[in-house]
Each structure stands twice: as C-alpha cells, then as structure tokens.
Amino acid sequence: MADQNKTESANNFYNEILSPCELFAARSRSHKLPARGQKDFYPDDSEEQRQRLQQSLDEHWRLISEERVERLGNLVKGVWIPSDRIVELQSPAGKFWQTMGFSAEGKQYLLPEEALYLMECGNLLVSHQDLPLSIQDGYEMFLSADAVSLQQYQVFGHLKRLGYVVHRFDPSSEPSSYARQLNLPPSRERGGRQLKRKRSPSPTPTCSKGESPAEKMEEDDKLPESHLPTSAEPAEPQSCSSGSAGEAGARTWWMTDVPDRQADKRPSPGSPSARSRWNFSAIPFPDLGSTGRPRTVAPPDPSLLPGGVTVGVCDVASWMQKVNLREVRMSGKEEERERRGRRRDVNKDREVQRCRNWAEYHELLARRQAAREGRPAHLWSGEVTPLHDPTQPISTAELLEKISVITSTNLLEGASRLKGSEEWRICFNVYQPDSVADFKKSNPGKPYTRMCVCSFDGPVPDLRAIKQLAFQSGDVLVVFAVVDHGDISFYTFKDFQLPRDVFP
C-alpha cells in the first residue's frame, strides 16, 4: 500500500507541469465558462442525481485544474525586487500601463498587488533569481500583513476583475485639515481645473460651491475674519470677496462699506470686526422730508469717501418731485388711537407714586407685566426657568430648535480634531470602469469611492473611526469591503438628516 502511494506521488511530482505537446494543444483552448444548471433541492440518492453531481464535479475540476498557457510574445516580463517589494518591468508594458504601475528613474515598476493581478490574468511573467514565479510564489512572496495583506488583495482583485481602476490610497496626497480650513486649492489633484477657473471672466464666488459643511463650520468657528478684505488671505477667497465688494460699490450710494454687509450675514456681536468702522451718530444724513426742504444737499465729508472720488453739491430738486410730500391727515378716530398708544405719564399713576425706591418700582413693573401676560410668575422666579418665554414672539422653526434638548449632528462635526487610528485606514482609491478610456495616472481626478478593508471576524467600525475616515476622505464616499473568506460584501455608512416638517 505504502509502495503504491510512493509511486503515485512520484508520478504526481510534476503532474501540474504541462508537456510541450499539451502546451501546444492549449493554444486553441476555449475561453467560455460552462453554464451551471439548476440546483436540486434535496438529495434523494437516485442514480440520476449522482450522475449529475459527478458531471458537475468533473466540470468543476476541469475548470479549476486548467493551467495558464500564454504565447511568450504576449507576456510582459518583470523581475521581483524583494528589498523594495516591487516588480521591475524588463519588456515594454502592455495596455495595463494606462491604469497601473509607475515610472522612476527611467524604469517601469509595478506594485506587488498589480503584478500579482496581472500574473493571474496571464499578462505578466515575473522572475526571481532567473526562474519564473508561479502564482503560488506570487501570493506567498508579494503578500504579507505589513504590506498588502491577503484580504486587501482579495478586495483589490475583486474590484479589478469587475473593471474598476484601483489605486493605493495615499493620505499625504489629501489636503490637510489646515489646508481645508483655509480653503487652499489642492496642490496636485485639482491643479488643472484651478487654472481654468482663474481664466473665466465672471467673478462669481465659486469658492463656496466646493465647500463641504465641515469646512464652512470650521470657518464660522475659528476664522470669522477670513472674509474681510483687509486681512491677508490665500488667493481664492480674496478674489471672491473683492468681487462682491465691487458689486456692492457699484450698486449703492451710501453703502460702500463691505464689512457691514458681511456682518449682516454672520451676526457675531462679540467679534470686533463685526462692528462698523464709522460712528453713524456723528455723520449727518440729509433729511429730505423736513419742512425746510433744501433744494440742494451739501457734499459728504471727504473722509467718508473712498480716495480719488470727489462729490460736489447735489441738486435734489428732480428727486423731490418723485417723493410723496403730502402731509399726513388723520381722521378723528386715528388721532384718538394715536393718543392712547402714547405712553401715559407714569408719575401720575397712583401705584407708582406709592413706590419708595427703584427696587419697589421694578417689582411693580414685573408684577404688572406678569399679570398682563398671564405668565405664571413662580415659574420664572427660580434658578431653572422654562426654555422659552411665551411673551417673546418666535417662529415655529426657531421654537423647535430651541426646545430640542438633543440636537442633531452631522458625520463630519468635530471630526477634524480626531486622531487617526492604526486599526482603521483607507486602503484604495477606486475609479469607475467607464473612466478607463481617458484615465490619467498623473491626474486621476476625484475617485468614485474609497475602500476600507475589514473582516467579519473583526469589529464593526465605531463612530469615531467612521467620522475620522469620512473626514480624511473629504467629499468622497468611504466604503467598507468586508471580507468573509471567499465572499466580499460592501457596506457604507451615510450621513442622514431626519426630515422635519414645520408649519408656520
């Protein structure tokens, strides 16, 4: 028995190496996949079923045992360089060069995962020490936990076989959070488009379009003065804010001050930049409705005008004709209402006269106020008061906002402060198959998704990891490729805002 085994194994020793005759015959091999028939529901030990199983198994083994046979002229040759963990090409690269590989010092190289994939596709023959590597050698030499893991390669191969362009993700090529805060144009990726944008004649503020909510938020929080034309700024925001300043200056007479306009948009009374540079109480505005009715208006103080502008005396006669100067005539009823609406003299009030000091007067006012508005005074006396004073007018949306104790947040909120973790990292940039035709490795553009590889044996990413990866990826979706032995499933976590109906 043992002897028989020995001879058998000796025969099998090189049985997966094809003879020249077999190699020659393999040139006219079919490339079709056999169709798989309908499966049965339950084994019934019938001869028919047994035969069908045997047939399927035979076909399976025929398919699996097939070896790769290629014409030598069709193979690109490469050499494995163990020290750098890359493959150096020794003959001109094929069509795959459009989406894979890189050049350095006049030589062409492939990353290990790319080389292994091309070996599996029968396009590449990699040698090491002058001997060709088998696919098994490739798996065992190219893949390791500290470089490209087997699971990462499984995902890479799966996506490549589907036609996607897959590149390693390089965190350093992404703009840093600081660069994003300043809204600096990305140095490499969007360089080409940046030039085009500069050439375009319209000064419309394009910079806010590309901003993600996080960036906007960051600016609001930390850089309130970044839009002021007075402060030194990076190129892009300046061009857009100066554009808007120009617009404002052309359209209005008195409002040449952009800071005021900006302050309207972002009401932050604490910051000094929000306050006006001018003291409006000291600037006389012409009163065109007064009884004196001057025919002319004196020129404004030259210090209020921008340099190089001179304004003479202005004749307002033509304007006066357009203004309705009729005196208001009120009916008796209206006059009565007007009179009642006016404040009564508080000193004539008996209760007020009874007050001996200011404190008592304030108390009286508070008492009267409470009585008039039906606001239960005891609710407002303690340290804890209701969230909203019913006497204060407020819109429904604002009220909902005010009484929501737990406010909703978005995925990127606070993500910039999170430190990157060792456990979770983005592995691949993935570009869609239809982009292959005009794909450029030097300028790949924005990826379709970014891929993070994990396993069903490992943990589910926590919110921290999801936030951190989403922030790192910017506006590109992060997809988790979960490897379960042979199977790969793709999952993604998306930001979701609960819809809210507000009826005013």
Partner: protein, 295 residues
Amino acid sequence: MEAPPCRQLGELQPEQERSSSPVVGLSLCDSAPLLWRIQDLKAVRSSGLVGALLGALPRTPRQNIRLGRPLLLLPEEERLLRERHSAAALPARNQDAVGTELQQRYEEEEQRSYEEQSILALEDRRSALLRAMTSSSGSESGVGSDEALQGRLLALGQSFTFPRSALAVQLSTARAGLSHCQEARAFLQVDWPIREQDSPRREARYQVFRDLRGRGFFLTSAGKFGGDFLVYPGDPLRFHAHFIAVCLTLDESICMLDVLCVARLGSNVKKTVLLCSPAPDGPVHYTSLQWSGMV
C-alpha cells in the same frame, strides 16, 4: 494542542488510517491556509470540505462568477484536518536556495519545449496544407498535382521557422518542488504552526462545524446571511443551502431583537435558521426558528 509537536511520528495515528486519506499540503499566505495543488483540492472536497476559491480563473480571469485556485480553508476546516492528522503545512519557498543548476535546467527545458513545439507547428501547417491541396485538387488531374504537392511540402519544410514569441509557455499555478511527496508530508504534519483558537466562540463554532459535517452536511461561511455557516444537504455544486447556522455557547444570552433579525433574514432567503449550541462534552443542541404563519 492535542499533539505536542515533539511527539514521535509513529504514535500519531494508525498506519492504515494514514494511507486511506492522503495528507493534504497547506501553504500559509499571510497566515491564511491555502491549497494550491489540484490533488489536494480534490482530497479535501472528497472529505466534504468546501473551502472558498480566491484566485482568478485561468480560462476567463476577468470575472467574479467562477473563481480558481488557490482554495482558502475556513479555520474550522483547517482544524478538522489537523485533528484527523490529514494535513501538513508545507514550508515556505526557500528564497536563497535556488542554485544555478535549477536555472540551467529550466533553460534546457524551455529549449526542448521550443524544439518540440516547432515540430508540432510544422506538422500542423503541413496537415493544413495537405488538406487544402487535396480538397482543391479533387477536380484537377491527379499526377501533376501530386508532384506539385510534394514540391510545396518540401518548400514549406525548408522555409518554415517557428518564431520564439509564438512559443507557448506555462504560468504555473502551484509551485513545483520537493515538498509534495507523501513521506515528506507525513513528516511535516508534525510541525503545525500554532494558531490561536482559544475564544469560546471559536470553540463553539468548531464543535458545531464538526458535528454538522459528521452528519453529512456540507458547510460554507455565511457572513452574507448574518450567520456562521450555510448548511447544504449535499455538495454545494448541486444543492441549495437549507439552513443558516448561528453558533452560540450554551450560557450565552441572546437579545430577542437579534433572534427576530436572523429569523426574518432566514425566511427572506428561504432558509431555516438554526441556533446551535454545543453542550460541554456532549451533543450539540439545535433550535430552528420559523415564522408560525399566524396573523
């Protein structure tokens, strides 16, 4: 765990058992157990272990519907093989041991292959020519065309060259080497790399796997179905899976919502969910979940 690596070979198992089931050679790639040689794949399948194919299929590499070698084993499959003493971890390729002798031999082989293939190619061309001539000369007179045929064949024999670039070469899937003979494997199976299998969950998974396999079921991983294993009544090539096995230790409490989740999912894919818990030193308890159908 059971067999300390220093034990003598002869003690490991009875002689006849070893010869009945060939020792399967495993290669570790990034610590995953992979099978490469077709005889190993067949041996594993014949003992009812399915595994998962990972590689591109040589015939049509750019698709994911049918994949090719290598075959990845589940940790449970690997452990079962180990307990039956029918698998051995093959040593990794010795990267520096390649001598000039081997390189020379490879070049000789290639040269021999080239010569043989050029003869085959010439033969191929000659028979094609012969076929073309005889079919066209059928209408003409016999003697003159026969001479012409001989002349053409002679000319072909002299002018024919088989270009080097047309040489068909093999990109081997498995590595050829000395580690594949039976004796070497028997020796190697003692040297099993230690892999952690210590968590109670893993242990439960393994007990369930072994029990279900022992009952003749075929199992594959069921991550996509939210369970541990997909359970097939026969070879997955011919049969649909009937059950989704969810492995739990006996004292593990499970949340009602989770039970509902797996039951709901199972009924959606027309499979029955099995909650499987191995009792200590005893049988595995199976509980199936089904919608009662009552409204």
